[in-house]
């Protein structure tokens, strides 16, 4: 192959969302020469879209809050499947990560006494989400972006070159991780760098680095109705698989209960949970607040029994229970699905979400400015005067790359780290709102820190990239130009989205998932023949043709794992296995690339039992709902 542009770094971070930027800041602060690579312009990553807030038990609004309560809520939300060590670190470190943002210039909304204000959100016992109106993600990304600029200004002073130690390579897509076999283990690999192309010119670029942090976000573009952007094609998950890492918990996909349903072109766009956190209620076409009929047994004691009690909770949370509109997302999404199915939906197939009858117009405009704007501009709906129509939308993937909870290192691939939505484990079977932004910062920082530590220890023992791999990656990337128009990548993508939406969606059945796997095989064959026209300069058809590989691999993981798990839990609902099973809680499904390279193998793993001091944070009665008898802590003398 011809000469390829090359850059050499200590740490390469793939992804410029919250997780990637925080990782890069850390790696650079540890003295590493660091590169950030991202598909969009710097500052446009998906994180920018986050609305509601960032969860951290600072206790500014309710001083009863602390990390233990946050930990407990996170485990409950994830139905105890979470990697508890990640949930623990997350709850402990989130407040520091939020406060640190203030020192970099973030301006959160304030409490009366001048501290960071915190709002209620589904599944969080106390008001816990630091926020800026409903544009928290923008604040987060801008703050991190500006911190990176600050670091670059330091380098400008010191070296006369702002990019001496930290450079952002924007609008570049990585298509392969480069590895060499790791001499220290049987079948392990070791990172040597990454291969990609510039979106602008279509030219190839190689990053040589002993450590790579994957922070590429989620997979929503495999589904038809989604709140996710074009970037969410499962790249990081696929890159990790192809390099020899495993994905865990891929059956758990979060369908956010409230996406826009009309007009068709905006179907799926998110309506933030803050609407409910701030008082909005859900009604069916008969005007009924149906959520009261859908409180599951595990949560019976924690939610209001009547509308009156639920309404009182907003002003007097200590003496009342919260309204069921604020149940975890999986519960609300299933309820909406059921209402619509039983014929009590709105004209456009959703349910009503109403704040107009609950809050004065000026309060709505102040607390939910971007929702007000979004509905007005895109749907001609004034949310201060009429209800919104909403329905479930594919929003977040709980599953992801298997990582070590403390260091974010991926077992099996030395030098590979993963953080943010692309990593699995932290959220178990269902993520609580606000727990992603905090996850990005806590584990982004850890990934950067431990990647730096690894590189430092490695010293001079770096390995060169293998030219053969570069040639293969280049050949793979140009292949679609040889397939002259055989298959239209856009059509293959649309069919993939329809398949996943219809057959591996919010409610799942064995026969349908088996059917999905058959169709995925057909689509794989068609994707291999996807052809593109034109040249390599900024060619979206080509980009999509390359993304198909990733979406198909990840979709296969989701479908296989979902077919295997014969129970319902969090973001995985089986109509044919409606109950939650304590035995299945002890099973983590891991996906790895099969030896033939084209398929996914499923392996069962047993999660480590939770530490006793963490178990002790829960009542024994509550634990009984989740754990097998053998796992329960010994009964105390004299207790009931």
């Amino acid at each position: 192959m011809s000469e390829v542009e090359r850059h050499s770094y200590d740490v390469v971070v793939i992804g410029a969302g919250g997780a990637g930027l925080r990782a890069a800041i850390e790696a650079r602060s540890q003295g590493m020469r660091t590169a950030v690579v991202c598909k969009s312009l710097f500052g446009k990553a998906h994180t920018v879209m986050a609305e509601g807030g960032i969860a951290a038990s600072m206790g500014n609004v309710n001083s009863n809050d602390n990390w233990q309560v946050h930990f407990r809520d996170t485990m409950r939300g994830g139905k105890f499947l979470n990697y508890w060590r990640m949930a623990e670190l997350h709850a402990q470190e989130a407040p520091d990560r939020v406060w640190e943002l203030e020192t970099w210039g973030a301006l959160f909304d304030r409490t009366g006494d001048g501290r960071i204000s915190q709002r209620n959100f589904g599944g969080h016992e106390y008001p816990r989400l630091a926020h800026v109106g409903d544009r928290t993600g923008l604040e987060l990304i801008r703050t991190l972006q500006q911190k990176i600029v600050a670091l670059q200004q330091e380098d400008e002073q010191e070296f006369g070159d702002p990019e001496a130690r930290l450079k952002v390579f924007q609008e570049a897509t990585v298509t392969r991780l480069l590895t060499v076999p790791d001499s220290g283990s049987e079948d392990g690999a070791r990172i040597t760098g990454a291969f990609g192309y510039w979106r602008e010119s279509g030219r190839f670029v190689v990053f040589e680095a002993p450590a790579v942090v994957l922070a590429t976000g989620g997979i929503g573009k495999s589904f038809k109705v989604t709140s996710n952007s074009w970037e969410y094609t499962g790249d990081g998950q696929a890159l990790a698989l192809l390099a020899g890492a495993s994905l865990i918990n891929m059956e758990f996909v979060q369908f956010h209960p409230t996406g826009m349903v009309w007009p068709p072109s905006v179907k799926g766009i998110l309506v933030t949970e803050s609407v409910r956190g701030d008082g909005g209620v859900l009604r069916n076409s008969e005007g009924k607040r149906f959520m009261f009929d859908y409180i599951p047994d595990v949560f019976k004691e924690k939610y209001a029994k009547s509308e009156e009690e639920g309404d009182r909770w907003y002003t007097d949370p200590d003496n009342n229970r919260r309204p069921p509109e604020l149940l975890p997302r999986d519960e609300v999404a299933r309820a909406i699905n059921a209402e619509v199915k039983e014929g009590r939906g709105t004209p456009h197939g959703g349910v009503y979400l109403d704040v107009s009858s609950r809050l004065p117009a000026d309060v709505i405009r102040r607390k939910l400015p971007s929702m007000h704007h979004q509905f007005k501009e895109l749907a001609d709906v004034d949310i201060t005067a009429e209800p919104m129509e909403v329905g479930p939308t594919c929003h977040y993937v709980m599953g992801g790359i298997e990582v070590d909870p403390d260091t974010a290192a991926t077992p099996g691939v030395l030098g590979l780290y993963a953080a943010g939505e692309v990593a699995g484990g932290m959220h178990g079977s269902n993520r609580l709102g606000g727990n992603s932004l905090s996850d990005l910062l806590v584990f982004g920082r850890r990934a950067g820190l431990y990647a730096a530590e690894y590189v430092t220890e490695l010293g001079d023992a770096r390995r060169d990239v293998d030219q053969g791999q570069i040639d293969e990656a280049a050949a793979e990337a140009v292949a679609p130009f040889a397939n002259e128009g055989a298959e239209n990548p856009y059509s293959v993508h649309q069919e993939l989205q329809q398949t996943m939406n219809d057959l591996v969606g919010i409610i799942r059945r064995e026969g349908e998932m088996a059917e999905a796997l058959t169709r995925l095989e057909e689509l794989k064959a068609r994707a291999a023949k996807a052809g593109v026209e034109g040249h390599r300069q900024y060619n979206p058809g080509w980009h999509l043709a390359l993304d198909l590989r990733n979406m198909l691999l990840v979709s296969e993981c989701i479908a296989k794992a979902a077919l295997e798990r014969e129970e319902s839990r969090g973001g995985h609902t089986r109509e044919d296995h409606p109950g939650m099973s304590a035995d299945w809680r002890k099973v983590v499904l891991a996906c790895a690339l099969a030896a033939d390279d084209g398929h996914i193998d499923l392996v069962r793993r047993s999660p480590e039992p939770m530490r006793a001091d963490l178990l002790a944070l829960f009542d024994r009665d509550e634990l009984k709902k989740y754990l097998t008898d053998a796992e329960l802590p010994a009964e105390e003398e004299g207790s009931d």
């Binding site: 969009s40 312009l41 500052g43 446009k44 998906h46 920018v48 879209m49 407040p95 520091d96 406060w99 640190e100 203030e102 020192t103 970099w104 210039g105 301006l107 909304d109 304030r110 006494d113 001048g114 501290r115 204000s117 800026v132 109106g133 993600g137 923008l138 801008r142 500006q146 911190k147 600029v149 600050a150 200004q153 400008e156 602008e200 952007s229 074009w230 970037e231 009309w262 007009p263 068709p264 072109s265 905006v266 971007s370 704007h373 979004q374 501009e377 895109l378 239209n488 990548p489 856009y490 593109v532 026209e533 034109g534 040249h535 300069q537 900024y538 060619n539 979206p540 058809g541 080509w542």
Partner: protein
């Protein structure tokens, strides 16, 4: 309810380009970006356009529609008549890369010239105290999604390429105002606004404000107050210090 619309889209690169005509289906409720995507999927697979959120939150999809700077994802087709030919061109102030995609690196370069937030020495993380009323001014400016439509519109650089060196544009003058109005920022920013970022070039025409999709009152709330601050102080260090101390209590 669907109909065929006439679109005229600029196709080309740095070297050459032309407006090309397309007839394309439009359905109820769609925005211009939907139509561009339909063109990609059916007639022009290599048509280059930037977008991310499709909800007016990321500021990627800026272009000019019938000559007016707009976000493609927030411009509804229902604002045009069915007979009208809709012309979509790239932002004019920045060099074109291909089709609707422009080189916006000017903005990143200017961003790097604004010294970052400078908190008081010794103030620890977790100890920041600010009142809501005091942060609101800067919060308005932090709503900016960096779509660069204001930068594209401001005649100081739209019509005079040579000014790009001396003038940072409304977005970054507003960034300076944001930091200057931050209750805890201790750096002196007013002199630099004038001397290094070209605040004096702005003749408060408000064209930037008019195109801001976030409805930020750039001119009234950021640029004019900055001009006043600069004029008032005339860089008298005693005046400046006194002001900071008063604002911080």
């Amino acid at each position: 309810m669907s109909y065929k619309a006439n679109f005229r889209v600029w196709r080309g690169d740095v070297d050459s380009g032309e407006l090309r005509d397309y007839t394309v289906e439009v359905n109820e409720g769609e925005v211009v970006l939907d139509i561009i995507h339909r063109l990609q999927a059916t007639q022009a697979p290599d048509l280059a356009v930037r977008w991310n959120c499709k909800a007016g939150k990321c500021g990627s999809c800026s272009a000019e529609i019938n000559g007016r700077p707009r976000l493609l994802c927030m411009t509804r087709m229902s604002t045009f008549s069915q007979e009208e030919t809709i012309t979509v061109t790239p932002m004019r102030t920045f060099p074109v890369i291909r089709d609707l995609v422009t080189d916006v690196s000017f903005n990143y370069a200017k961003a790097r010239k604004v010294p970052s937030f400078t908190p008081p020495e010794g103030l620890k993380a977790g100890e920041y105290r600010m009142q809501q009323v005091d942060v609101e001014r800067s919060q308005e400016f932090r709503k900016c999604i960096e779509c660069y439509l204001c930068q594209n519109t401001c005649h100081v650089i739209r019509d005079f390429e040579d000014n790009k060196e001396a003038f940072s544009g409304p977005r970054y003058l507003m960034r300076i105002a944001e930091l200057d109005m931050h209750p805890l920022d201790v750096a002196d920013r007013q002199k630099a606004a004038q001397d290094e970022h070209g605040l004096g070039y702005c003749n408060i025409t408000k064209c930037c404000t008019e195109v801001c999709p976030e409805h930020i009152k750039i001119t009234d709330n950021a640029l004019i107050p900055m001009k006043e601050r600069v004029a008032d102080r005339k860089y008298d260090p005693i005046v400046w210090l006194g002001d900071k101390i008063r604002r911080r209590k």
